[in-house]
């Protein structure tokens, strides 16, 4: 029996085992490969998407549990090809290195900024805790989030600009 889910504003009928993780559906059925598989165990955050605006590990969420909640992936963030403020800040702060963790990082951070547009350093660190990066981009990711949080101030202008 097909299960219907709404992803990035579009409704899809999916014919799959209801226990299949949402991540597999996004990647293998809908060709939305932005969300990544990093562990499948809720340990790394590479698969983070929004479900009704809240960050979720899509590797742990069974298809059948999505219901009529709205799923948003990194592909659904930019509007008409225009990057959103956070994506732009990730570029400006050179946050991406290999890039594998980045979709998950952006989605988790975006969820924070939507409920708290001006988070403090500690709040950001605590909120970003589930997401791992092996390239060591941590400082730049924190700065990118701060930069996006308040683009009008000089926060986030770090060593790189002071060369």
């Amino acid at each position: 029996m097909a299960i219907s889910i709404k992803v990035n504003g579009k409704t899809h009928e999916i014919d799959a085992d209801p226990a299949t993780p949402l991540l597999y559906i996004l990647r293998d059925e809908l060709a939305l490969n932005g969300a990544k598989f990093g562990c499948g165990l809720g340990q790394c955050g590479a698969c983070t998407v929004h479900v009704d605006g809240k960050p979720a590990f899509s590797c742990l969420l069974p298809l059948a549990a999505v219901g009529n909640r709205e799923v948003t992936t990194i592909e659904g963030l930019a509007s008409n090809g225009k990057l959103n403020a956070l994506q732009q800040a990730f570029i400006d702060e050179q946050a991406a290195q290999c890039g594998y963790c980045i979709a998950g990082m952006v989605m988790r951070a975006e969820a924070l900024l939507r409920v708290n547009p001006h988070p403090g350093e500690e709040e950001i660190r605590a909120h970003m805790q589930p997401n791992l990066c092996r390239c060591g981009t941590h400082m730049r990711i924190l700065r990118a989030i701060k930069r996006a949080a308040d683009r009008s101030t000089e926060i986030g202008v770090g060593h790189e600009e002071r060369l």
Binding site: R27, G34, Q43, A46, F90, I91, Q94, C98, G136, H138
Partner: protein
Amino acid sequence: MNYIGTPISRVDGQAKVTGQAKYAGDVNVPGLVFGAVVTSTIAKGRIKSIDTSAALKVKGVLKVLTHKNRPALPKSDQAWKDDIAPGGSPFRPLYDDKVMFSGQPVALVLAEEWETARYAASLVHVEYAAKPHITDLQAAREKAFTLKKSKKPRGDAAKAFSSAEVRHEAEYFIPTEHHNPMELFASTAIPEKRGKLTVYDKTQGVQNVHRYLCSVFKKKKGDIRVMSPFMGGGFGSGLRPQYQVVLAVMGALTLKRPVRLMLTRQQMYGLGYRPASIERLQLGAQRDGTLHAITHEAIVVTSQFEEFSSSDTEWADRLYKSPNAKFVHKLARLDVPTSCDMRAPGATTGVYGLECAMDELAVALKLDPVELRLRCYSDKDQSVNLPYTSKNLRECYQQGAKAFGWEKRNPVPRSMRDGNELVGWGMATGVWEALQMPAAARIVLGANGHAEISCATSDIGTGTYTIMAQVAADALGLPIENIGIKLGDSTLPQSPVEGGSWMAASVSHAILGVADEVRKTLFDAAKKIKGSPLSGVKFEDVTLSDGKIVSKKDPARAMTIAHVMRERRLDRIEKEKLHKFKKDEKHARNTHSAIFAEVKIDEELGVIRVTRVVNAVAAGRILNTKTARSQIMGGVVWGIGMALHEETAYDHKFGRIMNANIAEYHMPVNADIHDIEVIFVDEPDEHINPLGIKGVGEIGIVGTAAAIANAVYHATGVRVRDLPITLDKLRR
């Protein structure tokens, strides 16, 4: 030059923040089949039987391959050797019934859905006949052996040590560590028309994988194409082809359908790793702080079937003057997969031992650790008795110390605090090689002023796309927006594997070399144009700049590239060239760094935080200060992990890894990383290569763990020599 040396943002940034960058497991093709691997649960022995019947009954399962029903595979070791295989007999998946390590692939399930494949894999039942195994380095150290004849010692280190006024002798230990790139090893093998195959693979060297697959599957060069446009981190784990690419191809050839095989996180621990090592140091000095004897002996893990070896021990010869020196590198065989390169292999571990030992010697001598290093400073690489192409390590010590505020350090352990926390300041030196390899590049310059640059190199996240564009834009005198980069495709011009920090220098000079050919073609064409302002100008005197070919002596004598190409009816200029570096037997080539670290340790709980790191690096000319800085920061984060968190823990009874997941294999997370400052000291280098580039991928990690360990000692007065430094060890 407009772009080289500037902090331009990476050209692939947009693809990465929008989810558009395609990694090896992201390729979707119609009819894709999914693979799942079954791995061994014993460390040594034989497979008695494999029962695949339950798996085969699952709806959607297409095939289960084991050593019993796999397609033919070559017998000879030679057929399985990749470009950088060490000595020995390489591992081959599903080859026979022999089990050589826990986590070895023993079956491949192929199914219509990944979920199905993974479920069916859990139903494959394997019976083993286990044999006694050994996975503990300490238990195997007595049987360790040297691979090649060790270099002749300099002088008599043992004698000089016993007569030295101040002696320090200790053993340091670094456990096995795993790379744990966030991207899992994955391959997508797609059969094409006429028996051809395209393989998307997670690899640091598409041409290495290409040659390997052609050899293993007895295919002609043109039959297989290996692609890796993006890689989610390698750190050395992707230098050699991994078994999943063999299995994906095996599956695709068997089913004649495209197959994707992505390993699980747990299965990643069945691949290569940084080998555990014991580093034994003996330093003998006079009271004035001059060294008279250095002995460094390492015992490092390898497998039963291959001899992976990197140089742990000779770094002291590059850093510290000593008339007597002895270096011995031994390997110990365990029932584990073959160890492999991992970020600054050999140096990360060897220099950790050396730099902690130097700190202990400084304490014994009552000398400031920086001062001790300056007193022993070597202007030569004593192992080859050659001066350096450049070595500005003195400046690293100076600038690093200044930025850190080192002069305010009270040398007495436990003397500095901040509220409830003990504060410790430590430092160490870092050193790595400045390597460069032959590489080729192709330029296709169009009449519209756009150029496409290609090379088979990978971009493992380091920023190769970006620096290639920078170098090409400068060499061709074009705006960077007009440059397109193609890489990660085995059909492109020759490239070595990307590792060892050699790619920046190698590919940059390949581009410069071929850009010269383009300039020559343009120059010849320009001269033929009637009334050419360049007639009479010599080739050596023209350059490409601002979209023009122009005389360096008289900038008024110029023509736009577009004009030249139009006039001569050239719609494109295509050139390819292999670049080899001139041999220089008169210099040693290294990068250097000085690392200063601050730790704060909760006195009651023992919780350690690395609150500040300054890493001052001398690495020749920096092509892109932004991407290079990211590399160093990443290296420092790895150093923090090595010092405080990372350890692959074995259950020696079962010969199995206990923490084969990223919740229990601890690596630094956002909450662990505080202030990291990177300084690039000026280091002009006229000898190494025309651009003066040395590479920066590895140097950031080397020495960092030692600086932190030394800071922990300074904070607490407790010397922990076996990594990682966890709070329980402070209470021993």
